[in-house]
């Protein structure tokens, strides 16, 4: 079982490197994860992360379109906030499991 320390806490990770339990998450942990990739999280980032966490908690599927519908940012903005693979990265920082959606 993979474990990694963030913000002084040992976090258990699944095979994909995502959090096993979303409950251990904190803003400090997310910030430290982003720092590893040389990224600084702003308030806008955290708004997205909180939205993702709520959505997952409610058991709803996560799509890139649902991020846009949230009104926090448009898709272009989302790609800017989390460059590369935004949905994968944002869910990773949000401490939830890897998204299983194709869109």
């Amino acid at each position: 079982m993979a474990q990694k320390e963030y913000a002084g806490k040992m976090i258990e990770l699944d095979d994909n490197g995502y959090f096993k339990s979303p409950d251990v998450w904190s803003r400090e942990i997310a910030a430290e994860m982003a720092k590893e990739n040389g990224e600084e999280l702003t308030e806008k980032h955290f708004e997205v992360l909180e939205f993702i966490r709520n959505k997952v908690k409610e058991g709803q599927s996560l799509t890139i379109r649902s991020i846009e519908k949230s009104g926090i940012t448009d898709i272009k903005g989302f790609y800017k906030l989390f460059p590369g693979a935004p949905l994968k990265k944002a869910t990773l920082y949000a401490g939830v499991s890897k998204p299983s959606s194709c869109v």
């Binding site: 890139i64 379109r65 790609y79 949905l87 194709c102 869109v103």
Partner: protein, 167 residues
């Protein structure tokens, strides 16, 4: 034993040559999926695939009810070809497909193109097909970056870990 070295996909080029709803959607799902993975993505629309990026047509694509052996009735019974030829059936089936697609949070074609464009994916139209269908740049979706030849499209397939997919 030597450790297997992986070479993840870096760039993907897709060619869409067919214009039915599911053909165009399949291309767009794959293209958007690649963009979402951070893979450089370029899509080339040619022949009837052009319908998928033609403003007047892109949100009115149909599913073929004739000559489609995979077609099923609701409930799973075979869908007879003669039924598909009755006026209105194709429109009804297409409307049903669109509803089911929407339920899965898959966007309409125009919104899909916007999503791919917003993520940095690039959309191209085939020069030969555009000439053949007597279309102009302004007839095509705003996201269409350029009208190019297939040769120019192949030129974009430079570099390692690049794939071309024909859908």
């Amino acid at each position: 034993m030597a450790e297997e070295v992986k070479h993840p996909l870096k760039k993907v080029l897709m060619i869409c040559a067919k214009g039915s709803l599911e053909d165009v959607l399949a291309t767009l799902v794959m293209a958007n999926g690649a963009v979402m993975e951070g893979i450089e993505t370029k899509v080339f629309f040619t022949f009837f695939g052009l319908d998928g990026i033609t403003k007047k047509r892109m949100n009115k694509l149909h599913t073929a009810t004739v000559g489609n052996p995979a077609m099923r009735m609701p409930g799973g019974l075979p869908f007879p070809t003669w039924l598909g030829s009755i006026p209105g059936v194709e429109a009804g089936v297409s409307a049903m497909m669109k509803k089911q697609i929407d339920d899965l949070d898959i966007p309409k074609i125009d919104e899909f193109l916007e999503m791919i464009d917003a993520g940095g994916g690039e959309i191209y139209a085939c020069k030969l097909a555009v000439d053949m269908f007597k279309l102009k740049k302004e007839d095509l979706a705003d996201e269409v970056k350029d009208i190019i030849t297939i040769g120019e499209f192949y030129e974009m397939a430079d570099g390692l870990q690049t794939q071309i997919i024909f859908t």
